[in-house]
Amino acid sequence: MKKNKSLLLSGPYVLWMLVFTLIPLGVVGYYALTDPSTGVFTWGNLRDLSLFLPTLGSSVWYSLVSALICLVLGYPVAYYIAHRPPVTQKILYMLVMLPMCMSFLLRTLAWVGLLESNGIINQFLNLLGIPSLELIGTPGAVILGMVYNYLPYMVLPLYAIIVKIDNRLIEAAEDLGCTPVQVFSKVVLPLSMPGILSGITMVFVPAVSTFYISQKLGGTDTMLIGDVIERQFKSAGNPNLGAALSLVLMLLVFICTGIMNRFGSDEEGGVVV
């Protein structure tokens, strides 16, 4: 009876997963392992992947750097919010969420307008008599775009964890002789670990597969794996290779989050990130 009920309740979700996740995944797998022209089974697409290893590497690198910058920027913000009175906390929380209500594309385009060779920043510099800077088309611009877009994904999980740290633990640490800095390093930071890990995951995963940011803000030398995949499906017209690349990227993300989770449970003993 009970079993039937829970089956009934989870039914829609299972159906959803089946239709929109598992079946497409199967299709991706099918494409990845078949020849573009003949449609017969082949490892060929996967063999070609070595060509794209550098791109994959730089995608991972950009995303990691962005995630770390988000952490450094986001932690103080989250900590600050968590230590305000409850009402202020709610308002600040909303403010952090606010950019997420705006289209991702618009947010990125706004940066284009700012950074362009004759964009707002350069116009302003020129006005002050300073020659234009090359802002757009640089790795810095791509990372800026990632950090800007994904920062809330770092702040929110961090805030959720930090706000739950029991103030009495901080008092206990002070009582046992910790200076404020030691209180942070010995108690607050270790207890924030689950938030840090989930924040990094939440930034890293979308950043590593993004294509729009690098297309708009990056140059030719900052092509990311997401761009390559997109191109296979569109202009290059090789969905089989694109599928193979997607598959590998997905695997990579799985491995990364797996390592994170593992790391987290070692530290925290089973806290699910």
């Binding site: 009495r168 008092e171 206990a172 640490a173 002070e174 009582d175 046992l176 010995k186 207890l191 530290e267």
Partner: protein, 373 residues
């Protein structure tokens, strides 16, 4: 026990305009075992938190060795705390928790291991070094909290109801153990409890608090035998408290009779509260008694009977091993040492009347019956 170590001067604490501590004046001697005793919400924890440095008093000063430490942060005070709800670090195991203070003090590894294992033995948790905190029972966590503070050998240890989560047997054992540790290590204990028996049996000095004010300070015997007002008399043990008039030194009148007593120093004919402890009263045959009354209820309590006797409409609690049947007419004699006289206070008339003793009981059962319907 000699030198003064800590002094609280005119301590007042307000939260949102509400006065929680009201003019606390108190000193603690070196090596003393002092207990703050009082009902829930009377400000015990608040007082401890001020001494520990976690709260800044609204006004008044905390002196340590004669120096004002109001502005000294907790980590610079030679004081450790056993917190009311343990506050153990969930990210560390038992060893990590206990070694925390020693690690902060950067002691050599070998010494840390040595001291932790010593203290684990004291609290009876050998072999628990690598257990996770959330895998411990409440009582075990409480003992880890005690060990975590004690291992630092502080000059002063603040303990906020450290034994509240233990069962009776373990509590008794830990009481003895804490007392032994306190004497052996020469630490000043400032102990908070609302268990009067615990306070009386462990302390050198008991401070009875209520509503943010100190009601009485004294040795356990003095607090018990000579309570200052009706609140203390009622809070420490059971008491029958009666209205009386102090005719002159050593003569008090109540129930229309004059009794000899041991108290003096009151104004002639001053109205007073008279305390008679239930266990000090012995039955005599009615014709020999100072007072005669009727037994209205008898409850077996193991060690003794709780007997309620109606004297002219005022009901007394009498604790005795001498069984009397309900409805019996009994007499009692009151010797001068059985009578204790107190000045009237704001608490007069609020405590010490057992008229509702049995009625309360009936009401409770009725309520329970109502709820079932």
């Amino acid at each position: 026990m000699s030198k003064e170590l800590i002094r609280l001067q005119d301590l007042t604490m307000e939260f949102d305009g509400e006065r929680i501590l009201d003019g606390i004046n108190l000193y603690f001697n070196d090596h003393e075992f002092l207990t703050l005793l009082g009902p829930s919400g009377c400000g015990k924890t608040t007082t401890l938190r001020i001494i520990g440095g976690f709260l800044t008093p609204t006004s008044g000063r905390v002196l340590f060795d004669g120096k004002c430490i109001n502005d000294v942060p907790p980590y610079q005070r030679q004081i450790n705390t056993v917190f009311q709800r343990y506050a153990l670090f969930p990210h560390l195991d038992v060893f990590g928790n206990i070694a925390f203070g020693l690690n902060v003090a950067k002691l050599p590894k070998a010494e840390i291991a040595q001291r932790v294992s010593e203290i684990l033995e004291v609290v009876g948790l050998q072999g628990f070094e690598h257990r996770r905190i959330d895998s411990l029972s409440g009582g075990q966590q409480q003992r880890v909290a005690i060990a975590r503070a004690l291992v630092n050998r502080p000059k002063v240890l603040l303990l906020d109801e450290p034994l509240a989560a233990l069962d009776l047997r373990l509590r008794k054992d830990m009481q003895n153990e804490l007392k032994r540790i306190q004497q052996a290590m020469g630490i000043t204990f400032i102990y908070v409890t609302h268990d009067q028996e615990e306070a009386l049996s462990m302390s050198d000095t008991v401070v009875v608090m209520d509503k943010g004010r100190i009601q009485q300070i004294g040795k356990p015997e003095d607090i018990y035998n000579e309570p200052k007002n009706a609140f203390v008399a009622d809070f420490i043990g059971e008491s029958n408290i009666l209205d009386g008039v102090m005719l002159e030194d050593y003569k008090v009148k109540f129930f229309g009779r004059t009794f000899k007593c041991l108290d003096a120093g009151f104004a002639p004919n001053e109205p007073v509260d008279v305390v008679i402890r239930p266990e000090d009263i012995d039955f005599v045959p009615p014709e020999e008694g100072h007072l005669t009354g009727t037994v209205t209820s008898v409850t077996f309590k193991g060690l003794n009977y709780d007997i309620i006797v109606d004297f002219k409409g005022f009901k007394w609690l009498i604790q005795t091993t001498d069984h009397q049947p309900e409805g019996a007419t009994v007499g009692i004699r009151l010797n001068p040492e059985d009578i204790h006289v107190m000045r009237k206070s704001e608490y007069s008339g609020m405590f010490g009347d057992y008229s509702s003793y049995s009625a309360e009981y009936d009401e409770l059962t009725e309520d329970a019956a109502d709820e079932e319907e």
